[in-house]
């Protein structure tokens, strides 16, 4: 089916949003709750499923929606249609610090596998499915779980991840070892596997965990420098009362004063 060709502009450095320009009649789909602003003339419509109209019938729609639940997304997608007779803008913001990657699915051969929850928005016609990891070890220890998101179509899609994004093209057979959790997206031609770190000493004290994720070419991969879960762990560890110490840095007594805070 014909995808809507959309123009876009990404704003911001580390807390980005993407502004999409829609021609009259064009539409974009987004995760529910991702919209930042939209100009007059753009109409928002909430649809059950992913709005790609690839699933026909009620059963197909229910299946699609069920799959979306598995990937941790909302059952509904929001479609933004430009009903004015001039070009209008709509913007979608990333929910946490990081970068937005624009991906042209047509260039990538039509399919991209990406991290759960990382989809931000796309041209209408892009379908959101699940990519199920059949390899048990990878599902358990690969850092991305058994279920990842699969974007299919040939239009633009925008994916979001934490920290700095790194795009890397792997030559055939080229191997990259990656800390689990840092994978954002990969082309389906890339072999995704896990590898034991090798020595029991490094496994226990190396701080990298028991397994690396390995990516073997050919194909493109995108990595994130700061997975949200890692950021969240550090924040929780620093919150007084939950697990961290109250860092009252202005105290004259400093550490001495805090001696009496805990029983």
């Amino acid at each position: 089916m014909a995808m809507d060709v959309i123009d876009y502009q990404i704003y911001g450095d580390d807390m980005q949003f993407v502004e999409i320009t829609l021609d009259p009649g064009e539409a974009a789909v987004a995760e529910a709750g991702g919209m930042m602003y939209m100009e007059d003339g753009i109409v928002m419509e909430t649809v059950f499923g992913d709005g790609s109209e690839q699933q026909s019938g009620l059963l197909g729609k229910l299946m699609g929606a069920g799959k979306r639940l598995l990937t941790g997304e909302s059952l509904f997608t929001t479609v933004f249609v430009n009903q004015a007779d001039s070009r209008k803008n709509v913007a979608f913001a990333a929910p946490y610090p990081g970068k937005i990657i624009p991906v042209d699915l047509g260039e990538l051969g039509g399919t991209l596998v990406c991290q759960k929850d990382s989809f931000l928005c796309a041209a209408k016609g892009v379908s959101l499915g699940i990519a199920f990891q059949r390899k048990l070890g990878v599902g358990l220890f690969g850092g991305e779980g058994f279920i990842m998101q699969k974007l299919e179509g040939d239009g633009m899609a925008f994916v979001h991840a934490g920290g700095t994004l790194f795009e890397r093209t792997l030559a055939p057979g080229e191997l990259l070892r990656i800390d689990t959790g840092c994978i954002v997206a990969l082309q389906p031609s890339v072999t995704y596997d896990i590898e034991y770190v090798g020595k029991i000493k490094s496994a226990l004290f190396g701080g990298e965990g028991l397994f690396f994720a390995t990516l073997r070419g050919p194909g493109k991969v995108w990595l994130q420098s700061l997975p949200l879960s890692r950021l969240a762990n550090r924040i929780v560890a620093a919150v007084p009362g939950i697990g961290g110490s109250s860092a009252d840095e202005g105290s004259v007594l400093g550490g001495l004063g805090r001696m009496f805070e805990r029983n």
Partner: protein, 373 residues
């Protein structure tokens, strides 16, 4: 035709891969890169392996002077069909791929199966236990010696006795004791008979031989024979180890549910499971106790009409809207079964019980009156 669609990665090709058509020509594999460009490789140099996101994608790879190449057929079946036109070495590669793909699929299926069974095993165990719980409880119960049963009963009864509601003396207590002893002569159990100061029409037996009759039941009865009928029924619960079985049941459920649901306190679940088990097996046990109780009456030469008339009374109460435990069969049903059993056994010579039940009842009523005032 004569080729298969594939995505090609390699030197001088777009890094995201390029859609190409590939075909075999003699001992060469030829990729049509478009715009008249072609890449050629000896099919014998091509290796087949599995790769891709979930390890199910077929990868053809080889090295050339310029670098490494990978080709991903869009449809592995098309390549397998074409393999016939390829050189023998490549055909062998395809055969190897087919085998290894099959093995991998089978291994994967087995792993998932094992995992599924492991995850579902507590549930399966619980189902099995529910289905066969009576049998399991029977096995365990059979393994408990009478001496241990008595100890268990004493333990359970000690708590009950501490409630202080048992009547210790009086003609009623003596009568119950005497009738009971006549019924249980020669039993391996050491029976103890008690009367509970409680207005409910009820009686129960504790494992090991403590039988408790509520005073309300004694007041409701019109003759000693009627009481004897009830006692015979309760004695059969002890003889047939029904209450012990119930305890084993409840404990087993508690342990199992604790295991399955991770709630080690498990008291709520245990209670629930016990009730469930009773609902399912209670009726059976009650009918058995009725039937066997009748035999006991025969052995002790006690008139069975007392048992029948007491159940008639219970049936009338039921109709009057006083609810009995649902674990007991409906009294009318019981009555019919009992009459049937009696007909089958035939009548027997009975010695009347030497008690003036009206006098015993009035004395009991006075005792209770004093107690409750």
């Amino acid at each position: 035709m004569g080729g298969f669609a594939a995505t090609c990665f390699g030197p001088g090709v777009a890094p995201e891969g390029q859609r190409v058509r590939a075909r075999f020509d003699g001992d060469m594999l030829i990729l049509e890169l478009g715009q008249g460009r072609e890449a050629r490789v000896f099919a014998a140099d091509v290796r087949l392996s599995a790769g891709g996101f979930d390890g199910r994608q077929m990868l053809l790879s080889w090295s050339s002077g310029a670098g490494d190449w990978s080709v991903l057929p869009a449809d592995p079946a098309a390549l397998e069909r074409l393999a016939g036109s390829a050189p023998a070495t490549f055909r062998a590669e395809v055969e190897r791929w087919r085998c290894s793909a099959r093995t991998a699929r089978r291994g994967l299926r087995r792993t998932w199966l094992v995992l599924g069974v492991l995850l579902a095993s507590p549930l399966l165990l619980a189902l099995l236990f529910f289905w066969q719980s009576e049998r399991f409880a029977g096995w365990v119960t059979d393994g408990i010696p009478v001496a241990m049963e008595r100890q268990l009963g004493e333990l359970a009864f000690a708590q009950f006795r501490a409630g202080g509601r048992l009547l210790e003396e009086g003609t009623a207590v003596a009568a119950v004791r005497e009738i009971g002893q006549r019924l249980t002569a020669g039993s391996v159990y050491d029976y103890r008979w008690h009367v509970l100061a409680d207005p409910a029409v009820n009686a129960f037996a504790v494992p090991g031989g403590h039988v408790v009759v509520h005073a309300g039941l004694l007041l409701e009865a019109d003759s000693a024979e009627e009481v004897a009928g009830v006692l015979a029924h309760e004695v059969q619960h002890v003889e047939r180890r029904h209450s012990l079985r119930g305890m084993v049941h409840a404990l087993g459920w508690q342990a199992l549910l604790g295991l399955a649901l991770g709630d080690l306190s498990g008291s709520v679940w245990g209670g629930m499971a016990y009730e469930l088990g009773r609902l399912r097996f209670g009726r059976e046990q009650e009918s058995a106790a009725d039937r066997e109780g009748l035999k006991l009456l025969r052995k002790a030469q006690i008139d069975p009409r007392g048992m029948l008339s007491f159940f008639e009374k219970l049936a009338a109460r039921e109709e009057a809207g006083i609810a009995l435990l649902s674990t007991h069969p409906l009294s009318t049903e019981r009555l019919a079964t009992l009459q049937q059993a009696l007909r089958e056994q035939g009548s027997w010579v009975s010695r009347p019980l030497p008690y003036d039940w009206t006098a015993i009842k009035s004395e009991l009523a006075v005792t209770l009156e004093q107690r409750w005032r």
